[in-house]
């Protein structure tokens, strides 16, 4: 008997809304987030024409929030994919092969854990200069340690399982075993942590924007919208509220989805359903 998984549903719906907003942005708005700027319309409050009002440049905030979803999702998903690839590759191979490679990966993971990822990302952004590719690299290189740990511990426990040993005795190569026997069986926890990681990346983008190392304008990223509009909070509060809400809803969606997935995949945690 499986009850209503609140987290999974609400998280899924929120995430879906954000994804739809990003994908169908050109259909949902006729304006361009960059070039439809009219300074004569600057800082208009929300109304019939501009649902979320306009910003200091006279651009439609609704449009920019929609297109911002594309950027935020790109940042979140791509950086998380990079993280997962790094973390999984290192984690699985380290645990599978062991020895000095394991020690090395462990050491590296410890180092990565010890340096706060925001600071690491800050440093990488400072080297590469602000912009989307740098952001993807910075966030993609700095958050793989948890994935790596999970991959490593999963591998360690799976390694002793009969089917992995069976694959070895059947003559499978190491890489094939990692890809077909180990990887598919840690999809659950990795999916959970990746979902949470996407949310974290969206937040990190905002924090980096706040610290002055965000995305290349004029493309709308929620973090930079928020940071730039911060000073308008008295005269044009809508310019901060909507991108802020967008971040909140997106991250909330991914966090709930992650929790929901965890509940769904891990029966031990299915306590809420009693």
């Amino acid at each position: 008997m499986r009850g209503f998984n609140f987290n999974l549903w609400v998280g899924g719906i929120l995430t879906l809304v954000v994804i739809c907003g990003a994908v169908f942005a050109p259909l949902l708005t006729s304006l361009d987030p960059v070039f439809d700027a009219n300074l004569m319309n600057a800082e208009l409050p929300p109304g019939r024409e501009f649902w979320f009002g306009t910003d200091a440049q006279g651009r439609d905030i609704f449009t920019r929030v929609l297109y911002g979803a594309q950027i935020s999702l790109t940042v979140g998903v791509v950086s998380q994919v990079i993280n997962s690839v790094i973390g999984l590759t290192l984690g699985i191979s380290a645990a599978y092969w062991g020895g000095w490679w394991d020690d090395l990966v462990n050491g590296l993971t410890n180092v990565m854990l010890a340096i706060p990822s925001l600071i690491f990302a800050l440093a990488i952004m400072a080297i590469l200069g602000p912009g989307l590719p740098s952001l993807l690299i910075a966030l993609g290189l700095t958050n793989w340690s948890w994935t790596c740990r999970i991959a490593r511990s999963s591998t360690l426990s799976l390694k002793g399982q009969g089917y992995v040993q069976a694959a070895q005795t059947l003559g499978y190569g190491d890489i094939r075993i990692m890809a077909t026997q180990l990887l598919p069986n840690m999809v659950g926890p990795i999916l959970v942590i990746s979902t949470l990681g996407i949310g974290a990346a969206v937040l990190a983008e905002a924090a980096l924007s706040f610290l002055g190392l965000g995305i290349r304008p004029p493309f709308p990223s929620w973090g930079s919208m928020l940071t730039n509009a911060r000073e308008l909070i008295v005269i044009a509060p809508w310019a901060t509220i909507f991108p802020g809400l967008a971040i909140f809803i997106t991250v909330l969606g991914f966090n709930l989805l992650g929790d929901g997935l965890r509940d769904y995949l891990d029966p031990h945690m299915r306590t809420r359903e009693q």
């Binding site: 960059v34 070039f35 439809d36 700027a37 300074l39 004569m40 600057a42 200091a56 440049q57 006279g58 400072a126 200069g129 602000p130 912009g131 002055g212 190392l213 965000g214 290349r216 304008p217 004029p218 730039n228 911060r230 000073e231 308008l232 909070i233 008295v234 005269i235 044009a236």
Partner: protein
Amino acid sequence: QDPQSGGTLNFVAPYGSSFGTLDIHSTPATQDEFPAKAIHRSLYDWNSAEGKPELELATNVEVSDDGKVFTYTLRDAKFHDGKELTAGDIIYSYQRIAHPDNAFPGARYVSGVVGIDEFVDGSADSISGLKAIDDKTLEISYKEPVAEPGYELMRVNAAIYPEGAAEAADFQTSPVGLGPFKFVENIPGSRITVEKFEDFYEDGKPYLDKINIVLLDDASARDVAFRNQEIDVSVLGPSQYVAYQADDALKDNILEVAEVYTRHVGFNPDYEPFQKKEVRQAINHAINTDLIIERLVKNKAYRATGWLPISSPAYNKDAVPYAYDVEKAKQLLADAGYEDGIEFEITATQNESWGLTIVEAIIPMLADAGIRVTAKPVEASVLAEVVPAGDHQAFMWSNVSGPDPYATMKCFYSETTRAACNYWAFDNAEFDAVFDEATAEADPAKKTALLSQANDIVQEEAPSWFFNYNKAVMAYQPWLHGLQQNATELAIQNYEDLWIDDTAPDSRK
């Protein structure tokens, strides 16, 4: 209302979240001038009212006929440690600034003095051009004639320390100077507190008992703190400028000044389209500069015509800025052979007044004229590296354009290197001729006229999109008086003239 004495001032240092070293000789950062201005004095000082440097530590100066030798009669003044000011202190301070072991930014202020080369290469222990005639008489000899040494010697990086003081182990933590306020305490990252120096050389000043110079670089936080009456002054950005003007409680206490900075987008002639004057002019025509100033900068700026700013003596009041004319821009582009438009990248920082915010606004405007622009965000320190190196197609910056028009226009001289300040690699024979003439000209008025003419040539050549001259805006609490309209940097105030009245809250009494 007459000035009254007493009280505490919470002044704000908005350009960073910490003070660097308290040894002001060693740092050119504006932020570090906030405490230094209270603690130290230099030979000259900037007179905001008249817009020129004036003698500060000397009562009189005699200039030799060839304009090379300056003889100062020093005033009676005491350092915070009770020592009397002598010519030796000034010589000590200038030699320290110029000393080859110290990489101090002020070194160039005295680089024209006789004997500096021997001092720098180590063959002389002292600078022969700095002479103490007696305790109160100082003679400075320059290699070339100098019109006004005050432009450089007024800088607080050229502050006068008591002789030998900087060698003391605790100078960093408790600096000693001639200024109106004594150093009391430094809470790193938070504030510096100074208190009234009773023996200050100007009678009756300073008025205030104590100043807390607090660090607060975040504009929003500053806004809240100011409205909360936690600080007495606040430097405003454009949006706050509007908000404060619209607020009855705040609008009467706003101080504005045209500062000597020109905001612009400089074009790099190494990038082919920019070698054509038409292209550069087209960009100037394609941007609705007035609209940006009005709506985005909220009128917190003055429309730029050429390079020299309004507060410059050589400013051409009759110059007409490039008109907003998209058709003309397209025409000019076509004339230059770029019918299909051009594209380029602007390297800029996050700065809202002279950075990406403005670039964002011009992108759609230029797009209308077929000019496709992308922004390349960099950090401020990187901008300052790539621009002198020429590693860009175009850059947006705010550069000092005064108060000395000669020093300013020299940057466009073809012999000035890019690494110095000719960021446009500007090379124009007509300009060079006018400038050579100005260099040779001894009469200040004629010199100014020639420089004005040179400025017109720069405007015509359009090495930059001339955007605006900064309007610095400071809000202050109603009980604060005596603020000066300092065009070189509004936030830097002569604290000794400030005073607060009885309406101040208890925390300031």
